[in-house]
Structures are given as C-alpha cells and as structure tokens.
Symmetry: C2
Subunit: 378 residues, 2 copies
Amino acid sequence: MDDVHLLIPGPTPLPPEVRQAMARPMINHRGEEFGRMLAEVLDGLRRIFQTAGTVLPFTASGTGGLEAAVANVLSPGDRVLALVGGSFGERFAAVARGFGAEVVPLEVEWGRAVDPDDVRRALRTHPEVRAVLVTHNETSTGVTHPLWEIAQAVRAGGDALLLVDAVSSLGAVDLQADAWGLDVVVAGSQKALMGPPGAVFLSVSERAWEASRTARAPRWYFSWERARAEISPGRALMPFTPPLPVLYALAVSVPMILAEGLPARFARHRRLGQATREGVAALGLQLLADPRHASDTVTAVRVPEGVDGRQLVRRLRECNVVVAGGQGRLEGRIIRIGHMGAVADADIAAALRALEHVLPALGHPVRPGAVAAAGLEP
Amino acid sequence: MDDVHLLIPGPTPLPPEVRQAMARPMINHRGEEFGRMLAEVLDGLRRIFQTAGTVLPFTASGTGGLEAAVANVLSPGDRVLALVGGSFGERFAAVARGFGAEVVPLEVEWGRAVDPDDVRRALRTHPEVRAVLVTHNETSTGVTHPLWEIAQAVRAGGDALLLVDAVSSLGAVDLQADAWGLDVVVAGSQKALMGPPGAVFLSVSERAWEASRTARAPRWYFSWERARAEISPGRALMPFTPPLPVLYALAVSVPMILAEGLPARFARHRRLGQATREGVAALGLQLLADPRHASDTVTAVRVPEGVDGRQLVRRLRECNVVVAGGQGRLEGRIIRIGHMGAVADADIAAALRALEHVLPALGHPVRPGAVAAAGLEP
C-alpha cells in the first residue's frame, strides 16, 4: 500500500504523522480541548489564506464550499459572471444557477487561461453583475488562472464580489485574500493542505459579510452567520458536529505548512510543477495547458494519438502510479498528474518512469531519460 | 486519554480497530478499491436501515442530512407538519422553514413523547400537509418518539411524506424504513454506527423519489439525483470527494454491527439504557423523559435543585467522565449521558460512580450503591 504513488489531484498523500493523528480517540466537540484545537487550526489557516478576517469551517467536500460561497451572498435573479475554462468552472456556475442566479458565462478554451481584459469588458457590458466566480486553479485542465490580475479587473469594474474556488491551490500557490481583495475564498482540506477530504474553509471579506445580510438564497447548514457565531479568540466550535478526524489531521498538517513557510512552499511546488512539465516534454508528450499558465499543483498531459486514455491510466496503476484521467469533455483525452501537498521528487520520478515504461507497450514509443531531463534523481 | 469515558450523545467512543482504520493511506476516490469499499458500506447500511432501496451518502454532519431531506422533496410554500419536542425537532423545523416551507409545529413538552393521535388530528386539520418531520430519538431530551405509531398515523392521514431524523437512533433502536413506510431516514456516521463524524446517509422511498422530481427547493451539493447517479451494484462512488477516513472507519464498524446482529444490538442498548436509568434513580435523581418513552441511546438527568449544571459537567470531567449539558432552554438544567455504539457497562458504571462522588461535593448528598442497583459489575 505504501509503495503506491498517489498522484491524483486530490486527495493527496498524507505525511505519516498526519495519518496517525486520525486514529486518536474521539473527544467532546463542545469541550475545551476541541475549542482550543479548532481555534489553532483556524488561526493557522488565516495565515495561509493571508487574511486578518475570519476563516469559517464547514463539514463538506469542496463543492459544498462552493455552495456555501454562493448561497450566502446571492439572491434569486442576481446576475453573476462565471469564468469558465474547465469542469470546476462549469460546476461553480452550475451551483450558482442552482441557487437562482442568472449566470453570464465567460468561456475560455479548456487549457487556456482567462484574460483579465475579457473580464473588464464583460463587466462593462454587464454592470449589474453581483458576483464574479473564478476557479483559481482549474484542476480539470491544469491551468492556474491569473487571479491577481483578474481581481484587479473586478475591483476596477465596479462593486461585484469576487468569489474564488481555491480548492486545489491554497497552500501551494500564492493567494492573498486581503491584499488582493478576494471576497470569498474556498479551500478544501484534502489538497495542498495535506489533510484528508471532509472539511472546507471559507475566508470572507467585510464586503461579503455585508452582502450576506441581505442575500435571500436559502442556506441553513452552510450559513456563515451560524458558523461565525461559534468562533471566538482562543476557542472555536462548529454549529454542527465537526469532522473530528479531519481536524485532528489538520492540527498536525497546518503547523507543518507554516513551519515550511509559505514562500518555501510555493517555491517547492513551482519546482515540482516545472520538473513534471520538463519530464513530460522530454517524453515527447504535449501539455494541455498554455505553458504561461500551467499549474504548479496538477499537470494535464495529452494522451498521444492512437493511445487509449483509460487504458493508459490502468497500466500506470499496475506500475503503482495512480493518476487521474480527464473529466467531462476531456475524458479519455488527457491524464492528470497531481503534485501538491506531500508529493516528493521520488513520486514524480516514479510517474515519469512508469510513462516511459507503459507508453511503448501501448504502441507509442518515447524517448528515454525523462527523469534526468526533469532534474530529478535517477 | 484512553482512560476517559466519553459519554456524550455523539460523537461516541470508537472501537480501536475502527480508529486504526482511519490511519490508512489515502486512495483514489474514483478507483476500483474505493468503489468496492463504498458499495459494501452502503449494502451494510441498507441492512441497518432495513430497506431494499438505495442509501445515499453525503459528506456532512447530521444537520446537513436534514437539509438533504427537506431540500429534495419540498417547494417554497409547501406546508409541513413538524413534530417538536426538543432542540433537534426545532432544528428540523427551522431547516424546512429556511428552505421556504410553511411550518405547522406540533409541540410537545420537552421530555414528553409525541402522541400519534395528535398527529392524526393535525393531519385532519391540515390535509394540505406535504411532509411530516419527526425526530426519532430526541437527543436533547432523551425521548424516543413512537415512530411506528406515528408512521401509522401519517399513512392513514393521507399522502404526506414522512421524513425521519434518525441520527441518534439508527443502529441502536429498531427502525424499519420499508416495513414502517418511512419516506426519508437520515442517519449520521458518528452515533450508533460507531464511526467518526463526517458522513450522513439517507434512505429514500419510491414516493420520496417521485416527490423529488417536481420539488423546487434549491439543492446542488445535497442533490439526491447526483448522489444516486454514482451508485451501481458492486461499485459506488460519490459525486464530490468523499470523506475517506470516515468511510475507512465505517468499512470496519458496519460489519461489526452486522456481526453483532441487529436484534442483539437493540437488546444491548435497551439493557444499557435500563441500567443507566436504574442507576440514576438509585442516586435519587430524576429523569427528564417520560419513562414510557425514555431513550435507550441517551439519558437526560435533571440537575438537582441547588446544583449548578455547568459545574456538575466540569466536575464529572475531572473524574474522566465526559457527559453533555442541556441544550437550548434546558441549558444548565440537565446533564445527558450517552450510551450508544461502543459504550460498555464499565463506562456507565464509571459515570454512576462519578455522580456518586461529585454530587455530595456540590452540596447534594446521594444514596450510595448506584452501580449495584443498575445491575452493573461493582
């Protein structure tokens, strides 16, 4: 089991001490010990979100976090601008539509990044837009959209709120909630935060709090107000039973992230992303993503002509390398290699070696030497 | 840590093998191993729900499950009859109200059980009622409402759907989803199912599926349709990233429950409930619940006149016995002793001994000998 290289774009492999923490006995989720633990986790997360505001916890997957973002600030009939360049952009838009928003999609080709000038133009055409939805790192295509530039465009364009899906970026790629003026940022426990899936966290700006007071979309379980009411300095509870093992894990992983330091962590992910892309190129394979906006947490690789994408994933699995296939319209056409959180050089090297081994057997000869080309230990 | 007796009404103590299962490495949540594991968990849960229908999994706390129940079958303006005899009955009603329902409350004194004849009368007065909300086991008062009789009343009263909060009963108290005609049953992972918090499960009747096709309350994350689309015989996935450690735990605990056998398990909880009530009575303390409907998973004990309820909870904690205080209007007025899941005789005996020790110190003398009176090992 431990010899398996888990390289899907989340859940990510966990450091052993994080896994062991989950075996702790249950505790009273309304007691002092829990209150201190969650307060410390949330304080650490505020440093990772780079916000002085509150970070709210919810028991849910990332998509629940997206729902918690839209349901607290929108009212039925509100116009939203959705920046869509992949499955997760589509999902964010669909959740907003599900809660009654009129969605104006700004579509970009899957694999391309959103152009901030297009955002500017769209906001000029639709000045009534109440919120802009953006996926910081589009996990389905391996593209990191230029969030800072997009935020500048949104801020310059009027009063629209900026809601950010940072599920597969936060903790691996720079994101400054306060300094960049991001109104809501959604992160999941199971990606670069090195925890298991089961919790989501939202940072909320003062403007977003203001908007939540008059928003009429229904929310109960995902109510920000209920979540905030349980949080005070040094003692944080949750309004409904918290996912204890997930929080036990984050109580270990969040301090590990802060000990590594955000700049070092971002640099490490840049290096891993770069190595993956160089190794893939050395194999003669094509990336899906525009190289100027290639993600440092997940690399989408085009499946070569004549090779069956699903079979490629299966064969890599037989070599103990677990990667993800494509989603939606990209199913069978790409594989996705995750490299966030606790992924190490050796994992990427194993993936490159496995590709080098498997592709010729599937009728697609490749140049040898990808591991060395990637600058990884042979 | 392991010497602590965790006797809150959920999260409940976990068997060591269940805890250890959570330390397993992460796996691909779209791979074969996960698909098999979740299918087995859901098959086991169908036996515990006593249903031949589908059981749907969601990443959430129990309250998220209540939202998943109402949001899939109701439309704004629908009339619902809410049976309310405690905090969780109030919560179920509030969630329905939050999603646009017009709630007709049928209130009973906290500590009393709902009278099925009152349900019959209410449905005659309000024949337009679309759904009846009932809390099987009211965790805040230690009352188990007579679910079978209530279900008979609802079935005889027309076409209303019956939505059941079974978060703190399923797996400890008999509940037959199909035979009793329960349309939606909500259970949480963290109570009698002997898992950690973080997942909820819903059984859904054919009538409820039918209702969901035309219901207009918004739901996206909690959509039944999306959840069901991922489930097929022998392979079950979840539409959004599943809470892996919680499911690892249930993959161990659900077979343990089935190995014990439901009749034996219900009998064991009856015996534990009975022993707790007898021990408490022997101490000269009063129960909150009507004895004919006292819960076998949680016992609510009135705090004696002159004793500070919060201080009592704290002093018990110092004796390594963790119980819960009262909620809502019962805060400070009761303590609640949970006895569900993996709670053993020794835990109940420890609680009785701690009460015997602590109450006199708080100025309330008690008769000795509660453990023996409860029929527990001294």
